[in-house]
């Protein structure tokens, strides 16, 4: 692949981004939008040059309507910067996306997080980007700034075009401004850790928790070997085992009562558990998203009932792997350190359960194969010159 410039062009405003896209398109180059460089690998035409454009300096907070609990920010703002601002007003954006290639996930840009449809354990409690993204501006393939959605929590006016770009990996446009829904910060966070003898046991307990009179904010399934490398001085777990971390966000008394309820469920089956209060629970959740640098990183979107099983299977492939799953929603994330990505990728594909899809985040670029249905149709109309790349598939 040829690159116009080794250094990305840095922009600090939506207008600057629009101009940079126009310039690149005018010179026949393709455009790779780069925030904190955590986007999944995007497929480009190898016969044409690629101009990287960095949005890291396009990072202003435009407006925070505190009583309306909405915030408008530039897409290059980092999650950490936004959370710090919101915390002053006892609000937050309830997301905890994973690290990519060992980098601090809090340093990821909001535009990049959204364009790669990245979310973490809190997806179970707060839903996906459709719940959080109210409106947006983006730069299209002609270098024009386009707006969609609005700033209200309900909006049925026209096509909700900003949602189309979620997960598109910059293939249809580059976010420049985002209008997001914020929430009041939870009073407390507590979690309980269960040591399950195997994946089947973890799945059984997950199913029981999901039908219990509790409202977990997250249920994370962690490979036993992965968990044993935790830096939090927690007990180790044996190979082949699966650890469940079940978290609650609520008042302290309500968190504690729910933890007692789920502990009682597990105790009936003789399962060991440890409960963690606020700071410990927060640190554990953060560690669960701190995927280390790796040669191959993947994300599987599947069913909740398959999550624990996939954690065990993926970890068995490479014991040094970092494998965690959102057991409540069926998203499994795995990072493999000392492996041949091209050799491991097909093995992972073979293991996929029904209804699941596998997304390469690092290590392999999956070339577009065959017709892409609706995306191909849209690319022909919205980006006929192929200024932007294609998402991995």
């Amino acid at each position: 692949m040829s690159v116009v410039s080794a250094l990305p062009k840095r922009v600090d405003s939506p207008e600057g981004l629009a101009e940079a896209v126009r310039d690149a398109a005018g010179s026949g180059a393709q455009v790779r939008i780069s925030g904190s460089a955590s986007m999944p690998l995007t497929a480009f035409n190898e016969q044409r040059p690629v101009q990287a454009i960095s949005t890291l300096r396009m990072n202003k907070l435009i407006e925070h309507a505190v009583p309306d609990m909405t915030v408008i920010v530039h897409a290059g703002m980092t999650l950490e910067a936004l959370q710090k601002h919101l915390a002053w007003h006892n609000q937050w954006l309830p997301i905890d996306p994973p690290a990519v290639n060992g980098r601090n996930p809090m340093q990821r840009t909001l535009g990049g997080i959204m364009a790669s449809n990245s979310l973490g354990p809190l997806r179970m409690a707060f839903g996906d980007w459709r719940m959080l993204l109210l409106g947006a501006k983006w730069v299209d393939a002609t270098g024009t700034i386009v707006k969609g959605g609005g700033r209200t929590v309900k909006n049925a006016a026209g096509y909700h075009t900003p949602r189309l770009l979620v997960g598109s990996c910059g293939s249809l446009g580059a976010y420049c401004e985002l209008t997001l829904r914020t929430y009041a910060r939870p009073v407390d966070e507590q979690c309980v850790i269960f040591f399950c003898r195997d994946a089947a046991h973890a799945e059984e307990l997950t199913a029981a928790i999901l039908t219990s009179p509790t409202n977990p904010a997250y249920i994370e399934a962690i490979g036993g070997a992965t968990f044993s490398r935790n830096p939090l001085q927690l007990p180790t777990a044996g190979a082949g085992t699966v650890v469940l971390a079940v978290g609650f966000l609520d008042r302290p008394s309500t968190c504690a009562a729910q933890i007692e309820t789920v502990r009682a469920l597990a105790a009936a089956a003789g399962t060991e558990s440890i409960s963690q209060t606020a700071a410990q629970a927060g640190r554990l959740r953060l560690w669960l998203t701190s995927e280390p640098a790796s040669r191959l990183a993947v994300r599987m979107h599947g069913l909740s009932s398959d999550a624990a099983g996939c954690v065990a299977k993926f970890e068995a492939l490479a014991p040094e792997a970092f494998v965690v799953a959102e057991a409540g929603t069926g998203v499994v994330r795995a990072s493999f350190k000392d492996v041949d990505p091209l050799a491991l990728w097909p093995k992972l594909l073979e293991m996929l359960p029904a209804h699941a899809t596998l997304v390469p985040i690092q290590g392999v670029t999956v070339a577009p194969v065959g017709a892409m249905g609706l995306l191909d149709r849209l690319k022909k109309t919205l980006d006929p010159a192929g200024v932007f790349g294609l998402p991995p598939r």
């Binding site: 009583p67 075009t161 598109s168 069913l303 919205l382």
Partner: protein, 480 residues
């Protein structure tokens, strides 16, 4: 019985779906000339009722060959004229009303695959023996189809906590105008790639015809706490709404009625509402039992802090039903005092509620119309109700003009022209107040990419240059 319309496509449609699957008699088509928005009316050429995705695909191809407008239809409970034929050549309505199969329910993984014609409430009924349900609850949920919910991104009373339809859709099977069938998402939801489910939901049948839906099922609340508060001042009530949400409590419902609606309901049902009250808040928290009493106590304290004249908090299911009865019967009560009424729908930032409610009253005074308000205050979704007599054309015009001024004011304060009803043809003129020509052009490009020959529900949702639709005569006034 009048003779059937004799367009050659009708025989082709009958060959696809069978003779009983096509309606083409003029008198039988009367009930299909409008939806819940009854001002614009125009009979379709025919209504066809496919029962399978394969039939929908064949129907789309047949209608494409004849270059006829294709108008998707669920059960006709829309509120913006989205199924009315526009232009001199009537279109054919493709109804999913006979596609009513619930194909699969996976309680462990909390999803169900249903045909688009399954009624909203029928899905929840089908899983009633489990702790799960389908959360979107538009007031038309007994009749409204899930495909229709998807088309309009329907909301309801409980969207503040549970979200709107798009938050409960994991996947769609859609048919494009060329007859091609596409699966978007599925039981595992959206992974990577553009969120086509998120895009198509809410496009009112202008991009694709939805044939099957993978619905998310969520736990049904098993415990409730309800509070009813009266205020002598609208601003106090609005501040209470903001304070409750800022406290971290996300109520399942946070409904408001203004002074005139309180009086209308009291006159009709004698529920004991205070005559001097200018605002009523109905607040409900739900979920599991744990923590609800604390939430209710916090809500009660916030109401009192903001000067509520009275607050009644209840955990008794019977009393809960009584407290809700006034809100649920509010729109029916309007029928006692006005022969016709139009329920408008816009969404505004919550902080603008007091000013907008006052401004709506001024607009209706200017147009000499009676107005009342009952709305979803928690998410800023206002529903001003304009009362008029539909036998008086001049009064209908005034109601429409006042509606327009209200909607433009809501947009001006940062709001959306519709919160949950959709645009259809009713709100087309105001889309340009909300979106720039560039923004609308992008939407038109998406439509052009997916829809062949402009056949699928044309003239809806997206305004067009040089085209103005007279709602009182939608079949005659469109430049072709």
């Amino acid at each position: 019985m009048s003779p059937p319309r004799t367009h050659p496509v009708i025989a082709e449609l009958e060959a696809i779906v069978g003779g009983g699957g096509v309606i083409a008699q003029a008198d039988e088509l009367v009930v299909y000339e409008c939806d819940g928005f009854t001002i614009p009316r125009n009979k379709p050429l025919a209504v066809v009722f496919p029962t399978t995705t394969e039939q929908v695909s064949a129907v789309m191809k047949a209608l494409g060959r004849h270059k006829l407008q294709i108008i998707p239809r669920g059960s006709g409970t829309g509120l913006t004229g989205g199924i009315v034929s526009i232009g001199e050549t009537p279109g054919v309505q493709v109804s999913t009303a006979r596609m009513t199969k619930i194909h699969q329910v996976d309680l462990r993984n909390r999803w169900a695959l249903v045909d688009a014609g399954v009624a909203n409430l029928a899905l929840s009924a089908a899983v009633a023996s489990s702790p799960l349900h389908f959360a979107p609850d538009p007031s038309s949920q007994r009749a409204a189809t899930i495909g229709g919910n998807v088309a309009t991104n329907a909301g309801g009373l409980h969207t503040l906590k549970y979200g709107v339809t798009v938050n409960h859709i994991l996947g769609l099977e859609v048919v494009l105008t060329d007859g091609s069938v596409h699966q978007l998402g599925g039981p595992a939801g959206h992974g990577i790639g553009p969120d086509f489910v998120g895009l198509i939901t809410g496009t009112e049948g202008t991009l694709a015809l939805v044939t099957r839906v993978w619905c998310k099922l969520v736990p049904r609340a098993t415990a409730f706490r309800t509070a009813l508060a009266f205020f002598s001042n609208t601003r106090q009530a609005c501040q209470t709404v903001a304070d409750i949400i800022a406290s971290g409590i996300v109520p399942a419902a946070l409904e408001m009625m203004d002074g005139s609606m309180i009086k209308i309901v009291e006159d009709a049902f004698h529920l004991g509402f205070p005559a001097t009250a200018q605002a009523l808040l109905l607040i409900e928290v739900d979920g599991q039992e744990l923590g609800l009493d604390e939430d209710l106590a916090t809500i009660e304290a916030i109401c009192k802090k903001n000067g509520a004249d009275s607050v009644e908090a209840s955990r008794d299911p019977k009393r809960r039903a009584e407290l809700w009865s006034g809100r649920k019967r509010a729109f029916g009560a309007i029928g006692r005092i006005s022969p016709s009424y139009c329920t408008q729908d816009a969404c505004i930032p919550r902080s603008k509620l007091p000013d907008v409610i006052e401004h709506i009253a001024k607009i209706c005074a200017k147009y000499n119309l009676r107005i009342t308000n009952a709305f979803h205050a928690g998410d800023g979704n206002v529903h001003p109700v304009l009362m008029y007599d539909e036998t008086k054309v001049e009064e209908v015009r005034r109601a429409m003009d006042a509606s327009g001024e209200i909607l433009r004011h809501c947009i001006a304060v940062g709001g959306a022209v519709t919160g949950e009803h959709g645009v259809g043809i009713e709100k087309l003129p105001y889309m340009r107040d909300m979106f720039s020509p560039t923004d609308l052009a992008w939407m038109h490009k998406i439509r052009a990419a997916l829809v062949d020959d402009d056949m699928l529900n044309p003239f809806k949702v997206l305004p067009r240059d040089g085209v103005e639709i007279d709602l009182l005569a939608p079949g005659r006034k469109v430049p072709q």
